[in-house]
Symmetry: C2
Subunit: 228 residues, 2 copies
DNA sequence: GTCTATAACCGGATAGAC
DNA sequence: GTCTATCCGGTTATAGAC
């Protein structure tokens, strides 16, 4: 297990070169077909050097995630700046996720499974992924708070994390989607974002009050020990 | 890629011996720590022979799944024979899942991730897993149909598949659960089964009619191309 | 102390002789 | 249907170079 943060100028360059080589190759050939030796070759360093900067192949994936997250955040900034309607903000944000990830569609499957492993350091529910997870949850908090929707406090508290989970669900669906232009995913997004906003609106109905309290309590008890 | 169904008596025996060795070792050491060489050793056959019967290590996992499914089905048979209340049937069934799987808790994580890979032949949403998936969905149809609950036809149609998905969600939660006696999972099961049954009961409320139709339509459109 | 390189090790998978 | 020998790729050990 090697150091992760380069101390010198030269080290920083090497790290960037290796990472770029990896990102390129993942896109070109997919995750599994990309060997660590090929990454080292393209980066014109030795295999051992790659491992000096990235303790495992999986760790390159985490960077990959951060990369797409940053693309995504940049893509939706204009929308979030001008739009006030919650449904529109949410739809635009989730649509942008799949649009941003489209170039990586072929790779996404194996990456997803790598990362789904609970014992993987990269598991989205785990500790190593916390900084990135927090950023994404933060983004969804902004989606909600920047809207003109009036949302009960107990729901507002849980909503960003729930939307992060929802985004992961959409991505898993998208991975399987073979329809032209990934049209089915887009349809599902339109339908589900609308339903979510509607459900939040209905939550104040007297008949649903009881269930709402229970659902929120349940979610809190699930989420809290996990992400504390 | 070798044949999967042995043609001779001797072949059948070899296959069984290898499978048993694998199941034992998975439980003893976990999935990743169990090497194909160790399996072959314990089965007293050569490495090559193992690959004659099981084209990959993953294929041993599918048998593992079927094994636990059969334990589960046997465990809940008495309950399903005597009990009529839907909530009780559902709670008992899902509780039995995690109880049955408890001996494999340590292994479950890596197995889950192996299987979550969309390009894995063992992906639960894929073709190779269809026979087993159909069996499990069938079991949930029995849980629902054997109850005295009166369920609208459109919901009844989707419910078994939905419960199968729900079971997978519970299992993923259970994998992360480190609480003594897996108590947190059991609590979540009690709470969620109750909520599900309540939600099915509320579905006839006028305010929810519209959303219900939309949700069901959505689920159908998601599920149909996938499992046709 | 920070990087880089070479040479192994290990385990999943395959080829091909018997 | 069973074996041995081999490949291949992730990972590690470790020695030297800056």
């Amino acid at each position: 297990m090697a150091v992760e943060a380069p101390k010198t100028k030269r080290g920083e360059t090497s790290r960037a070169v290796i990472l770029n080589a990896a990102l390129d190759l993942f896109q070109e050939r997919g995750y599994e077909a990309t060997t660590m030796r090929a990454i080292a070759d393209r980066a014109a360093v030795s295999l051992g050097s790659s491992y000096h900067y990235f303790p495992s192949k999986e760790h390159l994936v985490l960077e990959f995630y951060r990369h797409t997250h940053e693309l995504h955040a940049a893509a939706i900034a204009p929308l979030l700046a001008r739009e006030k309607d919650l449904a529109t903000r949410l739809r635009g944000t989730i649509r942008a996720v799949v649009v941003t990830c489209e170039p990586f569609h072929a790779v996404a499957g194996s990456i997803f499974s790598t990362v789904a492993n609970p014992s993987s350091p990269l598991n989205p529910f785990g500790g190593a992924a916390k900084p990135l997870r927090d950023d994404v949850v933060e983004l969804y908090a902004h989606v909600v708070n920047g809207s003109d929707a009036r949302i009960p406090a107990d729901i507002a508290e849980m909503l960003p994390l729930t939307l992060w989970l929802y985004q992961m669900g959409i991505l898993y669906f998208w991975i399987f989607d073979r329809s032209p232009g990934r049209l089915r995913t887009l349809e599902v997004i339109d339908e589900t974002t609308d339903l979510i906003v509607r459900l939040v609106g209905l939550a104040n109905l007297p008949v649903l009050r009881g269930s709402r309290k229970r659902v929120l309590g349940l979610m809190k008890s699930i989420v809290e020990p996990q992400f504390a």
